[in-house]
Amino acid sequence: MTTLAPTAPTTGGPTRAARWRRKNLTVDKVSFAAVFLGVPLAVYLVLVVSPFLQAVGYSLTSWSGFDDSTPFVGLRNYVTAFNDDVFMTAVRNSVTLVVVLPIVIIAVAVALASLVTIGGASNGPVRGVKGAEFYRVLLFFPYIIPAIAVGIMWGQIYDPSNGLLNGVLTAVGLNDFDSYPWLGDARTAMPATMFVMIWASVGFYVVIFVAAIKALPAEVFEAARLDGAGRFRIATRITVPMMRANIRTSLIYTGIFALDAFVFMSALNAGGGPQNSTLVISQELFKTAFTKGQFGYACAMGVMLAAITLLFAGAVFLVDRLTGGGDDLQEE
C-alpha cells in the first residue's frame, strides 16, 4: 500500500528493471512508451510546466492580454510591486500567515496525535486513549469538506447577529459579544480567518502523525517507560525527534497552504477585509489579472509568491539542519 501524502516514500531504484535495448524496440514497446510516458508528459508539459515558465517571461512585460503585443519592460513590474502599498499589505499578510499557520497547525496536530496514540491511562505499555480510532476519523472530517463550504459555513458562524459564535458567547454571559463583527473588525479578522484555516487542515496532519507515531518501534516507548519518562517527555523527547522528516515535509505543505489561502479569503472576506487586514497575495494577483487585466504585473506577483514559497521551504530545511537534522535527507 502507499502512504498518504507528506510521508516520504522510499525511492530505491528498480534493481532488475527492464532496460531498453535498441534491438528490443518492437512496435509493442515503442507504442507502449509513446502512450505511457508520452501522453501524460505532454499534458503535463503543456498545461503545468509551460505556464510556469511563461509566467516568468510575462512578468517582464506590460502585457494586458487584449492583443498579442507584449512590450518588454524589464523589472519594472517588480519595482511597481515594491512601491504598491496595497500589494505590500498583501505580502505582509501572506508572510504573517506563512509564519504563524505552519507552526500552529503542526504543533496542534502533533499534540492531538500524541494524545490519540500515547495519551491513554495504563500502568503497562504506552497506549492510546479510548476511542482513538473514532477521534482520528472525526478530526479528519473538516479536511475533506470543500474549503469554500468551510469558508461559507464559518462566515455564517462569525455573523455578528445570527452567528453561532456570538450566540454561544452571549449565552454564557459574555454580552459584549452581542453583535461583535469578528470578520468586520481589523483586529480580529485575520485571527478569525486563521482559526478557520487551522480548523480545516489540522485533522489531516493528525492522521499523518498518528501513522508516523504508530510506525515507531514499540521498544522505544517501553524503554522510556521503564526509565520513568512521563507522557509529555515521551512526546517531546522521543516522538517529535523521531518524526523529524514527517514534520519537515508537513511544515512545507502547510506553508504552501498558508501562502495560497485564496479560497478561505474569498469565502470569508472577498474584498480583502477591513482595512485590507486579510488581503493576501493570491487575491491581489487574481484581481490584478482577471479584473484589472494587468497580466504582466500579475505574473510578477506570481513569481514573487513562488519566491516566498521557495524561501520558506529553504528556511524550513535550514532550521532542520541547524537543529541537528539532516541525516535523513537521503530518504527523500
Binding site: M1, T2, T3, L4, T11, P14, R16, A17, R19, D28, S31, F32, A33, L37, P40, L41, V43, Y44, L47, F52, A55, G65, L115, G119, A121, S122, N123, G124, P125, G128, K130, G131, A132, E133, Y135, R136, F141, I144, P146, I148, A149, I152, W154, Q156, L164, W199, I208, L216, A218, G230, I256, D260, V263, S266, S282, F286, A289, M301, G302, T309
Partner: protein
C-alpha cells in the same frame, strides 16, 4: 509498507489483566485529561456541521431570529430552492461530469506514467520524475494567467472537457509521486514471468500490473476524488460561463452575490449538499483509506 509490528497498543494478556487490577492515579489523570481535550476538539469539529444542518431546515426569518431556535418544521423547500433557483442542481451535474472525467484521466495517465518511471530505466527518467514532483510545490497562482491563455488558444477555455483535462494535469504530480514507489515495490519476477509467457508490455500492464496495484489505485482515486471535488481556483479562473459553473464556484457566487437579501436557508442547504457527497465517499472508503494511512489500525 510497514505493518502493525510497532503499534504501541498491543499488550500481552498478562499485562492487560495487570492493568485492570491497578492503574495508578497519575495515569488516570493523564488519560482523563487526554480524553477531555479530545472531546473538546471533537465538539469544535462537529458543532459547526450540526448547526449548519439545523439551519438548513429553517426559513430565512428564523435564521435571522436567533442562532439557536429550532426549525418549526423541516423546511425541505430550502433544498429545492437551492437546487433549482440557485442553480446548485446544474452545478452539481457539471461537477459530476468534470470530476468524473478528470478522475478517470488522472488515474489512467498517472498510473501509466508512474509505472513507466518506476519500472523502466532510460536516460532522463530521474529528470522527468523530479519535474513531476516539482509540480507539487509550485504555487498554482504562478501558472494561472498563462494557463488561461493556453486554454483559450486550444479552444478549451470555459469548456467542461478543458476543465477536466486541466484538473487532471494538476493532479498528476501527486498521483505519480505516490504511485511510483508502489510500482517499484511490486516484484519484478511477475513481469518476467509474463514476458516469458509472451505477454507484451501493454498486456503485462493491464492484465498483470493493474490488478496487483488495485489497493494503491483505490486509495489514490479516493484522495483525488476529494481533491478534484474541492478544486476552487482552477474553475474560478478558467470557467467563466455561469451555466458551466462547478459546485464550488457556484457556491461562492451564490454566497457572494445576494448579500443581505440572500435566502439563508437555501445557502445552508447548498453548503450541506456540497458537503454530503464527499462525506459519503469518505465514510464509505474511510476503512480503505485508513488502512493506507494508519498502519495497522489498533482494533
Amino acid at each position: 509498507m510497514a505493518i502493525d509490528t510497532a503499534a504501541p497498543a498491543a499488550p500481552t494478556v498478562r499485562a492487560a489483566t495487570a492493568r485492570r487490577r491497578s492503574v495508578p492515579t497519575g495515569e488516570r489523570i493523564t488519560g482523563g485529561v487526554s480524553q477531555a481535550v479530545l472531546i473538546a476538539c471533537a465538539v469544535v469539529v462537529v458543532l459547526p456541521f450540526l448547526w449548519t444542518i439545523m439551519s438548513s431546515f429553517k426559513t430565512s426569518r428564523q435564521v435571522l431570529q436567533s442562532p439557536f431556535t429550532l426549525p418549526d418544521t423541516l423546511h425541505f423547500e430550502n433544498y429545492a430552492n437551492a437546487w433549482t433557483q440557485a442553480g446548485i442542481g446544474t452545478f452539481f451535474v457539471n461537477t459530476l461530469l468534470v470530476v468524473g472525467g478528470a478522475l478517470v484521466l488522472t488515474m489512467v495517465m498517472g498510473s501509466m506514467c508512474a509505472y513507466f518511471l518506476a519500472r523502466f530505466r532510460f536516460i532522463g527518467n530521474k529528470a522527468i520524475y523530479l519535474l513531476m514532483v516539482a509540480g507539487l510545490t509550485f504555487p498554482i497562482f504562478l501558472a494561472i494567467v498563462p494557463l488561461f491563455f493556453i486554454l483559450k488558444g486550444l479552444g478549451l477555455l470555459g469548456t467542461l472537457p478543458g476543465l477536466a483535462i486541466t484538473y487532471s494535469a494538476f493532479a498528476l504530480p501527486f498521483t505519480v509521486f505516490f504511485m511510483v514507489p508502489f510500482f517499484r515495490a511490486l516484484p519484478s519476477s511477475v513481469t518476467e514471468a509474463a514476458a516469458i509467457d509472451g505477454a507484451g508490455e501493454w498486456r503485462t500492464f493491464f492484465q498483470v500490473m493493474v490488478p496487483m496495484a488495485r489497493p494503491a489505485i483505490a486509495t489514490l482515486s479516493i484522495l483525488n476524488f476529494v481533491g478534484l471535488w474541492n478544486q476552487f481556483l482552477l474553475p474560478v479562473a478558467l470557467n467563466p460561463d455561469q451555466r458551466k459553473y462547478v459546485l464550488t464556484q457556484g457556491m461562492a457566487a451564490f454566497a457572494g452575490t445576494a448579500g443581505y437579501s440572500i435566502d439563508f436557508g437555501a445557502l445552508f442547504a447548498a453548503v450541506v449538499m456540497t458537503i454530503v457527497p464527499v462525506l459519503i465517499v469518505y465514510l464509505v472508503f474511510q476503512r480503505a483509506l485508513s488502512g493506507s494511512v494508519v498502519i495497522g489500525a489498533d482494533k
